[in-house]
């Protein structure tokens, strides 16, 4: 379970998150929707531990443990995964090498046996097939020369291999056509389980047609302005963000 209590965070000295509270129980999918500049991406980076994102007040607990005290790699080992809005290109590192180093790093940290080379290749083949990815993308350098859709599929592949307990999807739908969107949604839905929760950050209601959330939170000005069931997305689509931001 993820618990965020009165979180305040700054980027380059500028306050972005201003007293955010959120509870995400195990096995649930929550969506965070909000206008540009509301703090959506900042929240995802703060949770993942990106250097330069300073928490000035508040607390974040993952399964009761102080998440903010952990290094980014320790958070990953503990089960947190962030699907980046803009996945980073890493020239010179083969995708397979990267995936294997990552999977084995978290497995070892979790007290599991690292994959042997053959078993890992088999696992990758199966997962790439599910995601409609070409095997050739495993040989290429991480995200280098990938289209927007391929990058997002690659994020889903990493998520599948790392088996997180908390996955944060930061605008994973941005830049995707409807087919790619379905592939991403299918990947998330296939991984839904009572032990795994998702925080889906998005601008648009569209993604939530395919990944149906248990709850929706509206983020504006660095705080949660309103929370509700999946019907809140439709209300938002009809009224726009302005109604919710002004109401607060």
């Amino acid at each position: 379970m993820l618990e965020i209590k009165n979180l305040h965070a700054t980027v380059d000295g500028k306050a972005i998150i201003k007293g955010l509270d959120l509870t995400l129980p195990d096995g649930e999918v929550h969506a965070i929707m909000g206008p540009n500049g509301s703090g959506k991406s900042t929240l995802s980076y703060v949770l993942a531990g990106r250097p330069g994102y300073a928490v000035t007040e508040g607390q974040v607990l993952l399964d009761g443990e102080d998440l903010l005290a952990l290094e980014p790699e320790e958070r990953a080992a503990k089960g947190l995964f962030l699907a980046f809005q803009y996945p980073v290109e890493i020239p010179g590192v083969a995708n397979t090498t990267f995936l294997k180093e990552a999977a084995n790093a978290v497995r070892v940290a979790r007290g599991q046996k690292p994959y042997d080379a053959m078993a890992f290749v088999k696992l990758l083949r199966a997962k790439t097939k599910e995601l409609g990815m070409q095997d050739e993308m495993l040989k290429r350098a991480v995200n280098v020369g990938f289209s927007g859709g391929e990058k997002k599929r690659n994020e889903m592949l990493q998520m599948a291999v790392l088996e997180p307990t908390l996955a944060i999807l930061d605008e994973t739908d941005s830049g995707l056509d409807i087919d790619a969107l379905k592939v991403v949604a299918d990947a998330v839905n296939a991984m839904r389980s009572p032990k795994r929760s998702f925080l889906v950050i998005t601008h648009y209601q569209r993604l939530l047609d395919h990944i149906v959330p248990d709850r929706i939170h509206i983020l504006a000005g660095g705080r949660i302005r309103q929370s509700g069931g999946k019907e809140l997305a439709l209300e938002l689509e009809a009224k726009g963000y302005a109604a919710f931001v002004e109401a607060a």
């Binding site: 993942a48 531990g49 990106r50 250097p51 290094e71 980014p72 790699e73 958070r75 990953a76 080992a77 995964f81 962030l82 980046f84 996945p87 980073v88 290109e89 890493i90 020239p91 010179g92 590192v93 090498t97 990267f98 180093e101 990552a102 999977a103 790093a105 978290v106 940290a109 350098a141 990493q158 790392l162």
Partner: protein, 420 residues
């Protein structure tokens, strides 16, 4: 002494005592005179602005003693024709040379009974000093139309014993028309005792010949390793070299490649991974002397600690070098806050119809990439190693996996050791 002079004659005087009294004595004395006349370069000389040889004066160097001190030497390649040198002296007991094709020879110079090599008119002080003091080295000849069945590996093992030693090895390589060879030089320091190594190499590639020349250096912390290599590339011949520098107090390679006839090609790559107060320099001059000549130079350095590197890379295109095409790139990762790169790319162009480009950048590890890797569970140290290895990997592209696989292993081991 702080005279504003570009050479230092005094610094060479102690070496005059070392002149071997052998059959080449007359030629040696003449070469020594030339060296003394020229003097060791000082930091007032443009090419040595950031590199000081004053440290050499702190030691009383002697020439190495008798051969036979080394029982075994590690290999770079599993299978190769191999010569092993300890402080520049061949170790005949460790020579492994199989049958070679017609007109081909691989031997150490003591076995090959050298004649006195001629001293070039424009020889440097270091070239003259080498001629005066050289004791050993290697000669490789490949017959016209022949391809060597195995790579040639020259193992230079240094600084096993205490005491200050200077070695002045020579390397002579000649490939006949359409001959092909792979040559690996590995220079390894086994200790930190003072060493002054002054290598001189002359390489001639006849029409259509191809030489792949890998140079891997991991010298000891007390070693000054200087090397001058001159390469002549004939029509449609190709010289491809990769210099990998993994340490030493001061390692400086000076490479001159003459693309002498139409269609000649040079590929010059360099990878540097330095730590502490190590310094490694590369000075290259690629002369496009003929039409349709091509050169590509890719140099990448990762500098940790307080390490320093000087790169002076010149592409010259002579009058008449129509359609010559030369590109040069030098990128540096500054891993240590006190690491320094001086880079001076230079184009000298005397013909209109040519293409030439150069670029140099330096910077730190990409923070966004580092965070991305860590967010996937990779510990910081591993993420840094992976990014540094991938940065250097570009210099390995185009070389056979037979060479790049052991290289990758050396780079990984060095990265793990120095934790940059």
């Amino acid at each position: 002494m702080s005279q504003r002079v570009t050479s230092d004659r005094e610094a060479l005087l102690p070496f005059a005592q070392l002149l071997p009294a052998d059959a080449l004595a007359a030629a040696r004395a003449k070469a020594l005179d030339r060296a003394l006349e020229l003097g060791l370069p000082t930091q007032q000389a443009e090419a040595w602005r950031h590199t000081s040889l004053l440290g050499l004066a702190k030691h009383h160097f002697t020439l190495p003693g008798a051969a036979g001190a080394l029982d075994s030497a590690p290999h770079f390649l599993a299978e190769a024709d191999r010569l092993v040198f300890l402080d520049g002296l061949a170790q005949p007991g460790l020579t492994q040379v199989g049958a070679l094709p017609a007109g081909s020879q691989l031997a150490d110079l003591s076995a090959a009974a050298p004649e006195a090599p001629a001293l070039a008119k424009d020889a440097s002080a270091l070239a003259a000093l080498n001629l005066a003091l050289f004791q050993d080295g290697a000669t490789l000849t490949v017959g016209a139309g022949e391809t060597l069945p195995r790579p040639v590996e020259l193992q230079f093992v240094n600084a096993l014993a205490e005491g200050a030693v200077t070695a002045q090895p020579r390397l002579q390589v000649s490939l006949g028309a359409k001959a092909r060879a792979v040559l690996v030089e590995q220079h390894r320091g086994l200790g930190d005792a003072p060493r002054f190594l002054n290598h001189q190499a002359d390489i001639e590639l006849a029409e259509g010949a191809t030489l792949t020349h890998l140079i891997v250096l991991a010298e000891g912390a007390g070693t000054t390793h200087l090397a001058e290599t001159r390469v002549t590339v004939a029509r449609d011949a190709r010289y491809e070299t990769l210099v990998v520098q993994l340490g030493g107090q001061l390692v400086r390679r000076d490479l001159k490649v003459a693309l002498a006839a139409r269609g000649a090609t040079a590929l010059v790559n360099g990878a540097y991974l330095l730590r502490d107060r190590e310094q490694a320099d590369l000075v290259t001059e690629i002369l496009h002397a003929a039409p349709d000549t091509t050169s590509r130079e890719t140099l990448k350095g990762a500098l940790a600690g307080e390490s320093r590197q000087e790169v002076q890379a010149c592409i010259a295109m002579a009058a008449g070098a129509a359609r010559a095409d030369g590109r040069l790139s030098n990128k540096t990762l500054l891993l240590g806050d006190r690491a320094t790169i001086w880079t001076k790319p230079e184009l000298r162009i005397y013909h209109d119809d040519v293409q030439a480009a150069h670029g140099a950048t330096s910077g730190k590890l990409d923070e966004a990439a580092l965070f991305y890797l860590r967010s996937r569970g990779l510990p910081l140290a591993l993420a840094r190693r992976l990014l540094i290895a991938s940065f250097l990997a570009e210099t390995l592209v185009g070389f056979d996996s037979l060479l790049t696989e052991p290289l990758q292993a050396l780079l990984d081991a060095r990265l793990t050791e120095i934790q940059p």
